[in-house]
Amino acid sequence: MIDRRSIAGRLETRRVADYVVIQRDQELGVVDDLGMRRAEHRTRWQITVHVDMPAGRGSAQVTLDALDGDPEKIVEEAVALAEHSVGPAWATVPAAAPARVELTDPALATQESIDVVADGVLKTLPRGGATISGRATVLREHVMVSARQGFHAEWQATHARVDAVVALGANSLAIWREARRRDGLDLDAAITDALADLKLLAVAGRPVAGPCALVLGPDALLHDGLGVWAAFATQADAVVARQGLTRYHEHVPVVPGADQIVEPLSISSNGALPFGVRSAPLGDDGAAVRKFALVDHGIAAGLGLSPREAALRHRDPNGGVRNLVVELGSWSGKVDATAGRVVELRRLRALEIDPYTGDASLEIALGIDGTKPFAGGTIRLDLIEALARARRAQTRVRRGPYDGPSTVLLERAELIA
């Protein structure tokens, strides 16, 4: 049997510079409207080992999804792997205190079986006004971290996700929500918005090509999680930055003049956001999670730093990019009548972002051209440029890993039919 203490004990006897052993005891419940009810109990292991060699420091990270195994052999493999993956030398900084963050919803962390809890979540899905087929997934986990010199941390966390297909007449939309708390799913609003959009889809025409101002509503803005804001998360990847593959560099404007506009863009990563879906006391590499700025008033301000990247830069690690908090703007949501053609994007079919350039392709599922709903068409954007100069709403939305303005206005875009 694999056992955390025996793995840590064996690592202590090896000549390793540092190590982190993470054990995740997980209960996963899945219930759907098609009659599936599932409960899973699993343990996942992650072992990170650093060894100092004459040529530098070698690192390895091993993940296992099994209960049966020989700890001696696992340690032997991890150390061998680290010894053959040597890079520049660096020294581990002393461990910082884990972030204090609430991650457990008492409504999900009950004594009930995990499938019963998932069933309870599915039952909160509103059913009126449409045909709805849903699936609820609930995760309860107990995370235990052991590191060198007796460092130990543990915490509990809950996570819920609901996926649903909402059908009205001849049209349907797929929606999903995730949150640490059952109440955070906000399913009533999700279904209400879906029903409104389905009514628009029923009368939607075809897109008309041409230039326009563009309003990105919350469902388009946050397509698949972080949505368009994911462009900034990639740019804050320290490894990519060190390779010189980022679009911009620290301490300079993200695009020329981004710091000179009336409401310059500010984005921070907050891994200690209470009940944030990407919040955690410690990162996967054992570093304490910290809040930091990615973009500060239009200027690239920080990177997600693992212990290695932080040490190479003589800084403190911060646990990487987590939940994104985007500063609100002052835009009321009203569009100037003189702005010309305005297209509002309600929902996307697909969003593709080039992680290096920030170039994006937005496939439109539902838009409103002036007052006319339409389905189809494509928008191509330089997201870094567009979002740096976008007008941000003064109303806030918190959904999944995002906390920020509910809509943004881009003054110039080209709709491709």
Binding site: G35, R37, R38, A80, D115, S172, S361, D382
Partner: protein, 476 residues
């Protein structure tokens, strides 16, 4: 400027990050010990029998599925080689309920683990009598016997292929070869059913990357099958193709956006077929009213040239199997017959054999046509896909990202090659425009992951001639 190797390969879908983490830089750690399958098979079957009988004693009709899976990845790139192994065990107990099913899953493939799962399902104790039928034949082992294949042999098999690429170019900035093996042993036990199978899925790939202006051109050839590791090898033409495509100079002028006659290479066709089947031709996709209406059984949705079946019985198919994860024996499922919808994918498959069951294809076969060469006078030959095709089930909209468009004039290549184009429009008209298919087919194997669990499938497709709207993907 250099590319992160993991990103290059990860972007290609060549391997998961976990595999690459193991594969790159490491030497060859010892292979995780897995007991000889012949020895443990009878023990595991006895354990599953006991579980099903105990559940029967509680008045429940049960199916027990157990898997022991070992993944081995050997890769060699410009900086060296390495081998990785990962092991995953699991047992899924499924009981029928008046309205659906209830499942208990454990990663403990032991008596304690399985009986704990049984207790979670059974509200009362007792042992029923269940007739499991005849004992299964021992699962067939591939040749050569995997237990005799060393890590060094895996590396050697990758290195042998790399050595055959005798033409060197300083413009190739990254080169890699890989073999990726999923060795799954499965046991399925229920009333009148006692099955076992060994699925030894192998993927080989060869990657070359060269810069073209400010963008990298990534070229990959791959083969995927079920069987012995040497059942399929790259021929010299494939090795040369990988190199030459990476080195080809792309035409810098703008692509002429518009409707064109098109030849779709099998890898492009496979991407479209895979996305279309997953989005439109499964029993869960049919829950969407647009899909149910557009793709009702009997509806004409494509050209008469197109006949499609899902056939897990195809010998050596990467997505093939003897029985599915619901324990049903493999059988051919017709999906399209000369352009008419005749069925939907309903067979149950589980990611990693232990994930939640979902209807999924196994080995899709698009029937070959009747011509050896396609009669394209003017148009484009499209080959290579950089990402999954997008098929929107709500609207039928399709976006197919294509790596290269080769211009054809008067039946011959002009030499102009455009990078990064896309075919866009509605899927129905695109499929209806197909006029010819070749007798030659090629097979594409796909391995992707859901929640860290792998899904395997394959698609066999000919070259197709049709027409569609093609445009550049690059910003002007």
């Amino acid at each position: 400027m250099s590319w992160n190797r993991r990103e290059v390969l990860g972007g290609l879908g060549v391997a998961s990050a976990q595999a690459l983490l193991w594969a790159f830089g490491c030497s060859h750690p010892a292979r995780p010990v897995r007991h000889a399958l012949g020895e443990v098979s009878s023990e595991i079957r006895a354990l599953l029998h006991e579980a099903v009988e105990t559940l029967a004693g509680a008045g429940l009709t049960a199916h027990a599925l157990a898997v022991s899976r070992l993944r081995s990845t050997a890769a060699i790139d410009v900086l060296g080689g390495g081998v990785a192994h990962a092991r995953c065990d699991g047992v899924v107990l499924t009981v029928q309920q008046p309205k659906g099913t209830r499942e208990q899953v454990t990663s403990a493939l032991s008596r304690d683990g399985v009986m704990a799962a049984v207790r979670a399902l059974a509200t009362r104790s007792g042992t029923g009598r269940v007739d499991f039928g005849p004992a299964p034949r021992p699962a067939r082992a591939p040749s050569p016997d995997p237990d005799t294949i060393t890590d060094q042999a895996l590396l050697d098999s990758v290195a042998d292929i790399a050595r055959r690429d005798t033409v060197q170019s300083s413009r190739i900035v990254y080169a890699a070869g890989m073999i990726d093996i999923d060795d799954s042993m499965l046991w399925s036990v229920a009333a009148n059913r006692d099955l076992e199978q060994r699925l030894y899925r192998v993927r080989r790939s060869l990657t070359r990357v060269a810069w073209n202006g400010t963008r990298p051109i990534v070229s990959e050839v791959s083969r995927a099958w079920t069987g012995g590791i040497n059942d399929q090898l790259f021929d010299d033409a494939e090795i040369a193709y990988a190199r030459e495509v990476a080195l080809a100079l792309m035409t810098p002028t703008a692509f002429p956006d518009g409707e064109h006659a098109l030849v779709l290479a099998p890898n492009v066709v496979a991407g479209v077929i895979d996305a279309a089947v997953r989005s439109l031709l499964t029993t869960t996709a049919a829950l969407r009213p647009e899909v149910a209406q557009r793709l009702a059984v009997g509806a004409t949705v494509a050209s008469p040239v197109l006949t499609l079946v899902d056939d897990p019985t195809t010998a050596g198919a990467y997505g093939g199997f003897e029985f599915d994860d619901a324990g049903q024996l493999a059988s051919t499922m017709p999906l399209l017959d000369k352009g008419h919808v005749v069925g939907r994918v309903a067979r149950g498959r589980r990611p990693g054999h232990v994930g939640p069951i979902e209807p999924a294809s196994s080995h899709l076969r698009l029937a070959p046509g009747t011509v050896k060469e396609l009669p394209l006078d003017d148009g484009f030959w499209l080959e290579g896909t950089s990402q999954n095709a997008i098929v929107d089930p709500a609207s039928d909209r399709v976006v197919i990202a294509v790596q290269r468009a080769l211009e054809i004039k008067h039946g011959k290549r002009t030499g102009r090659v455009f990078a990064d184009v896309e075919v866009v429009g509605d899927l129905g008209p695109l499929l209806a425009s197909i006029t010819h298919a070749t007798t030659e087919t090629q097979t594409v194997g796909i391995r992707d992951e859901v929640d860290g669990l792998p899904r395997w499938r394959s698609i066999e497709a000919p070259f197709l001639l049709g027409k569609g709207l093609v445009r550049s993907r690059r910003p002007r």
